[in-house]
Every structure is written in structure tokens, then in C-alpha cells.
Amino acid sequence: MIKLTRRTLGLMLGATIAAAGAGSALADSCGLNRPIKVVVGYGAGGGTDSYARILASTIPEFLDENPMVIINRPGGAQVPAMKFVKAASPDGTTLQVVAMGGGLMATMLRDQGISWFDDFTPIAQFGVTNQALVVRADSGIETAQDLIDFIRSKAEGGDKVRWSHPGRGSVSHVGVTAFLEKNGLLDMSQDVPFDGGAGTRNALLSGDVDFSASGAHTLPAFSEELHAVGVLSEERDPIVDDIPTLAEQGLDFVPTSSPIILAAPAGADQAFVDCMSAAVEAATHHDAFTALTKKAQQAVVYRNAADTKAYLEALADAWAPTVAEVRADLSE
């Protein structure tokens, strides 16, 4: 027996109107007849926000013109945004665009009350950012092996190298920490956290630190000042494909790509997820989407719901050992 509350009445009313409405149109809009709110855990104007806004500007065409509205809830390593979406109804009207590198990392590093794979349903991956190890162009360091040798030689002289990153628990921090750890260099280095990529890069440009972790896509503008020694990924970055990966250089590391994904709260209807996933795929082939991401130098990589989930689980498994160590450090 259904209890008659205002909510169920509303739902019944909604269902009646929906059934009475044009059935085919509703199927096109993945069963939605209200604007989709997409929460972004970063401020407007950043990389993740741009991905989300480009998607929102192209996807309505494939959702029977149902609009997608971006809501920025910046701060706290995307956790407040994730909590907001987790608490929302899984009816498809509240979704999130997450930079999963930082997002997944944040939930693994601390007890945030979020267990990502239990609390969310991935819809599709539609972008990626890769991390690179960067030195100054005049440093004389050419390859990742050169960097390792440099760190060792400094340690022999009783000195620690300093390196900058955009914040503890960020995907670059964990990725580089794992690289240093696997090559026995962790005790020979000191990390210096900055607030975002620009400060991280400037610390390297001004000579305050010896190397940095940086988003690979931000490097072309600094090609004369900075030199990337390797990308922390199995495959080359689609945007800056002249930087060799650490895998190509035969070094021990943990891949730390950050997939840009669209996700729904757990419990979203499977038909809806598949329908949205198809709409995202269609949007990524849209001319405007291609043109905008190309101009913004943002890599486009599409994975459907099932593939995205499998890929994220593999990343989480690969990160787990380093995350456990960083986690112990953070709680000290």
C-alpha cells in the first residue's frame, strides 16, 4: 500500500502529466522534463568548469532541448559538491561533473562520509587531464632518469630537493609521491603545497623549488621556460603528445590520469544512465564541442557507463598503496 504523502502525490501527478505528454519527446530527454542541475566542485573558469560548461552548451540538442544548468560549489577538494549530489534525489535532475583524479583521491584519503563507488553511479567519461613532471628549461635535466640522478646527487650532498604541487591530496601530489616512493627518493625530497596550478608553476619559474607536478595541458604556453620530463600515464597525452610517458622511459610509477566524468547519485535508473551516456557520446561528436575543447586544449576521451566504472576501479586499485601512506602522513 502506497502511503499518500505530498511527495508521492507529486510523483503521481508528475507521472500522469508525463504519460499524458508526448511520449516520444520524453524518451529523447531520457525521461526528464525539468532542467538538469550539474554541480561542479570548482569555481567558474577553471578546467573542470570549462569541460562542464562545454558539455552543458552542446548536450541539450540530444536531450530534446532539456537544458543543463551548471552550479559551482567550489572548495574542499570537490567534497562539498559530492556531498550535495550524494544527498540529492537520484531522479536524474541533479548530476555532477567530477575531475575524478582529485575527487576519488579526496574520498580515499580521508573519511569524508563518501564511499564513491557505493554513493555514485558513473554515467560517462568525456575528458581527461594528465600530470607531468616538470623542471626549468635551463636546469640541464632532460629525462626522468636525469631528474632521479639529480635528486640522488643532491641527497649525497646532504641537501633535499624541493618540489611544488597544487595541494596535498591532489592527484599530482599523490602521483609524484608514488613515483618518488617507488624509486626510493621520498626521504630525499620535501614537497611544498600551493593553492592551484599557477602558484605551483611560479614557484618553479622563480627558482624556489627544483621541480613541479603540473597538468600536462598547461605546458605549451611555457615551452621556452619549462621542460616536461615525463607524463605520469601509460599513454601519451592527446594534447601534448611530444612528452614521453614514464612507462616509455621504463620507470616505476603509478598512473595518475584524472578522468573528467559525469556522475549521478547512486540509485539512478539504469535506463536513464544508458540514455544519458549515449547523449554525452553524441555531444562529444558535436561540432561545437569539438571546436570548443580543441580551442581550450582539452583532451576528449569518451567511455560509456560500464567502461568508466571499470576504469575508475582500476585507478583506485593502483592508487590504494600510496594513498594509504599519504593518508598516514596526513593524519600525523
Binding site: G45, P80, R162, R168, P193, L292
Partner: protein, 498 residues
């Protein structure tokens, strides 16, 4: 000549000209509405820019940020309510003028100083950007520690009733800025497990509470009821009350010139922002003044100093952004987002790779200054006369409600409304015991930056505090701060003994 190419690019596109003017007007209105920051307005406009050419898009966004810096001074002068945080210094002198019926004069002083400061800064950007960027890149965390400390000492020392209450206000602001996530380890601090405090106390509720609600509480506390039918603004008594005379302009011109240099200098340093610029310029002008007793009671020189400096940051702010990719303010950060979408590679070679576009944006900046000057100068007197007719019993309830609407619309959190009320009471108490709300706010806004820079300094080197000895620029700023403090203490002693 780059700027000539820029004007050619700007004026050969009617969309670019139209959107510059639209952006200017949107910024003016948005800046004048408390709680609606230029950041929020630009965020709303970002999706619109997707479908515009790069020049109209960037020109519009740039114009919004620029003119909102002036727009914020309108409610600061008329209602003692800063529309933007950087207008807080303007309100110190502007609101007393409104009470005297000289709001038209105050607004005109603000628009003249804003436009002049802005123009100076824009010229600096056009002709000196590449050269100055080299210096900005040399500043690391130790220098920022010194600059923050120097700014706090100068501001705290000069804004309070005494050095002691001023510095106490700064310390209280710093302490409250510790709430939220730790800038280095990203761990939670003093949040009591509350999800609302994860990023600390929100700026909008704190700002509106301390400055605006406290003012409403004070009016209630002073039993304003008896003259509630009077307007909060005085009625202009003579035509001179609504205009700026040539003699007055000549008197404040040296202050405007000094303040625009201060503002541009602060603007080049990423992260300090226009709040510091306006207060440092205000403090400096007050220190130099031969008639310091007129300050705080409606001194147009104070408005000139604050506004010239605050707008002078908007051009020079772009210097670190364009050349180093470091946004110096929220507006600059959002502008960089729009550049990202339009494929402008921000970095050392941006002046070569996007020559016409960048100079076109600079030309749009100049057009924006002219536009808000024209609108502001001739609109100010009308607005001033209109406000003079509204009685206090209408204005204060409207301000009170506007605060709650503004704070709720920012984050849609009831929590922020409660927070604002608490900070309103705090601001009320602070004023009662002679502490300085502006000094408190500045410390609150800049506290996280100081903390981050200080802890980064200790991570950069193992020698701890001795590391500052290796950084001459940092030592210079420490010495400047200490000298300013000693001067102020000596002056105070002298005043007591006299």
C-alpha cells in the same frame, strides 16, 4: 604600436564595442548590489561567451570586472554598505558625506578618482606589462609573508581608535580566518564536524554582517525611531554639495597620483587584491594629511585615495595573469577561464601569439573607463538627490531585508543567514569598544594567504625563520612595517602628552 592595433581591432567589430558597453553597465549595476559580486556576474556570463568571438567575449568580461570596482562605491557612499569588499575604505569617508547632504560630491569624487586610477593602471598594463612581469615572478612565499605582515601593521595601526584596538581587530580577523580547511595539509580545523564550515566562514555573510547588519543594529540601538521620517541622507544645501569643484580636484590630485601608484603596485602582486590597495592608499593619504582631524567625518581626499587605488589594481592585475598565468583577483581568474575557452595561451609569449586580441582587450578597457565615467559622473548627482528623499524608516528595513536575500542567494544556505546575524552582532560590539571592522575584515580575507605563505616558507628551507635573512625584498617589507608602527606609536604618545 600595440595599442593602435588594439583600437583598430576593437572598433572594426561592432559586437566588441557593444559588448564592452554592455559589460560596463552590467558591472556598474552588479557592483552596486551588495552580495552580487563581479565574480558571480562573470560566472553567469561565461556560457554566453561561448558563442561570441574572442574579442567581444574578453572585452565584456574585462569591462564587468573593471566597472564593478567603481560600482561598489555607490552603496558604500549612500548606504554605508560596500557593494564590493574593496569599497569598504570608501564608505569610511563617503557615508559621513551622505549624512551631510553631500552625497553628489562624494559620488563624483569617487568616479573621478576611479577613472583616473584605472586609466593610469591601464597605461601601465599597455606599456609596461612585459617588463614588470619579470619582477612579479621573483616574489615567492617569504616575500609574501613580509608584504602581508607589513600591510596588516599599517592597516591595523591606522584604522583603529588606537594602535592597540586596531591590532586587536587584525588579530581577531586572523583567528577567525583559521576556521576551515588547513591550507597546507587540507585537514579540517575548528569545523566541529560541520560541513558548512569546511571552507571557513563565508566571506559574504561575514562582510554583510560586520559592515551592514551591525549598522542596522546600531540604528536600532540608538533609538533612531524619533527621526525615522528623516532621510538617511542629508538634503544638499547648495549646488556645490552635489558637484566637485576644480579647487577640490586640484587639492586631492597629488593624493590620487600617489594612490594610483600604490594601487597599481599592489595589483601586480598576485593575491593581495584591491582591498589591500584601497586601505593602504587610504592610510597613507591620512598619514600625510595636514588636517587628519577631518578624516572619518567626510573627507573627500579619503574617497579619492581609496577609489583611485582600488581601480588602479584592475589593469595591473592582468600583468601577472597574462605573463605568468597567475590571476591576481577573482575577476582575473574568471577572465583566464574565458581565455582558456577561446584558446588564448596565457604565458610569457601571449603578446606575440595573441597580439591583436590582447591589445584589443586593453583598448576595450579604455573604452570601459570612459563609459563608466560618463554614466557615473552625470548619473551620480541624480542618484544622490533621489536617495536624499527616502526616509530612514524605509531605507533601513530595505537594507536589512536585502542583506538576508543577498546572503541566501549566494549559496542557498540558511546557515549563512544565521552566520551573518552572529557577525552582525560581533560588528556592533566591535564598534562599541572602538575596534575597527575594516581592519578585522582585511585580516579575515588575507589571513589564509599569510598562513599559507608562512608555512610554505618553512617548507622551502630547513633554516626556519632565518631563511628571511636570505631574502632582501622580504626584509625590506618587514622594516617598512615596523617603521610604520613605531611612527604611529610615537605620534600617539605625543598626542597623549600634548
Amino acid at each position: 604600436m600595440g595599442i593602435v592595433d588594439g583600437f583598430v581591432a576593437l572598433f572594426s567589430s561592432w559586437q566588441a564595442v557593444a559588448f564592452t558597453i554592455i559589460g560596463t553597465l552590467v558591472g556598474l549595476i552588479g557592483g552596486a548590489i551588495p552580495g552580487l559580486s563581479s565574480g558571480a556576474m562573470i560566472s553567469l556570463l561565461i556560457p554566453v561567451t561561448f558563442y561570441m568571438g574572442p574579442l567581444p567575449a574578453l572585452a565584456m568580461i574585462y569591462a564587468v570586472g573593471k566597472s564593478s570596482d567603481f560600482g561598489g562605491s555607490i552603496p558604500a557612499i549612500l548606504f554605508n554598505t560596500p557593494g564590493t569588499p574593496q569599497a569598504s575604505a570608501t564608505q569610511v569617508e563617503g557615508y559621513p558625506l551622505t549624512r551631510q547632504g553631500r552625497q553628489g560630491k562624494a559620488l563624483r569624487m569617487a568616479v573621478v578618482a576611479s577613472a583616473q586610477g584605472d586609466f593610469f593602471s591601464e597605461l601601465l598594463l599597455i606599456f609596461g606589462a612585459a617588463f614588470l612581469a619579470v619582477y612579479a615572478s621573483k616574489l615567492g612565499p617569504p616575500e609574501f609573508v613580509a608584504i602581508y605582515c607589513c600591510a596588516f601593521i599599517i592597516i591595523g595601526g591606522l584604522l583603529g581608535k588606537s594602535v592597540l584596538t586596531g591590532l586587536l581587530s587584525v588579530i581577531l580577523g586572523l583567528l577567525l580566518s583559521l576556521v576551515g580547511s588547513d591550507p597546507i595539509t587540507a585537514g579540517e580545523r575548528f569545523t566541529f564536524g560541520s560541513f558548512h564550515l569546511y571552507d571557513g566562514f563565508g566571506l559574504v555573510p561575514v562582510l554583510l554582517g560586520v559592515f551592514v547588519l551591525s549598522e542596522v543594529f546600531e540604528k536600532v540601538g540608538n533609538a533612531v525611531v524619533e527621526n525615522a521620517r528623516d532621510a538617511i541622507a542629508g538634503t544638499p544645501r547648495c549646488p556645490d554639495d552635489s558637484r566637485l569643484t576644480w579647487a577640490e580636484y586640484k587639492r586631492v590630485l597629488p593624493t590620487i597620483c600617489r594612490s594610483q601608484v600604490i594601487g597599481s603596485g599592489v595589483g601586480i602582486l598576485p593575491g593581495l587584491g584591491s582591498v589591500v590597495a584601497s586601505f593602504v592608499a587610504y592610510s597613507e593619504a591620512k598619514r600625510r594629511s595636514k588636517t587628519p582631524e577631518t578624516w572619518g567625518k567626510g573627507e573627500i581626499e579619503g574617497i579619492a585615495a581609496a577609489e583611485a587605488a582600488n581601480n588602479a589594481t584592475s589593469g595591473s592585475n592582468l600583468i601577472p595573469l597574462l605573463t605568468l598565468g597567475i590571476p591576481g583577483s577573482t575577476a582575473a581568474a574568471l577572465l583566464s577561464g574565458v581565455m582558456l575557452i577561446h584558446g588564448v595561451e596565457i604565458g610569457p609569449r601571449v603578446f606575440e601569439t595573441s597580439h591583436d586580441l590582447i591589445y584589443g582587450v586593453f583598448a576595450a578597457g579604455l573604452l570601459c573607463i570612459v563609459t563608466y565615467f560618463v554614466v557615473g559622473y552625470w548619473g551620480a548627482a541624480h542618484l544622490g538627490r533621489l536617495i536624499a528623499k527616502i526616509p530612514a524608516q524605509v531605507v533601513y528595513p530595505i537594507i536589512f531585508l536585502t542583506c538576508y536575500i543577498a546572503v541566501y542567494s549566494t549559496e542557498q544556505e540558511i546557515f549563512d543567514m544565521v552566520l551573518m546575524t552572529v557577525f552582525g552582532l560581533l560588528g556592533f560590539l566591535m564598534k562599541r569598544i572602538g575596534m575597527s571592522p575594516p581592519a578585522f575584515i582585511i585580516a579575515f580575507i588575507l589571513g589564509p594567504g599569510l598562513e599559507r605563505a608562512l608555512r610554505q616558507t618553512f617548507l622551502l628551507d630547513d633554516s626556519g625563520i632565518l631563511y628571511f635573512l636570505e631574502r632582501p625584498i622580504a626584509l625590506f617589507f618587514f622594516a617598512l612595517g615596523i617603521a610604520a608602527l613605531l611612527l604611529r606609536v610615537r605620534k600617539e604618545r605625543w598626542k597623549v602628552s600634548a
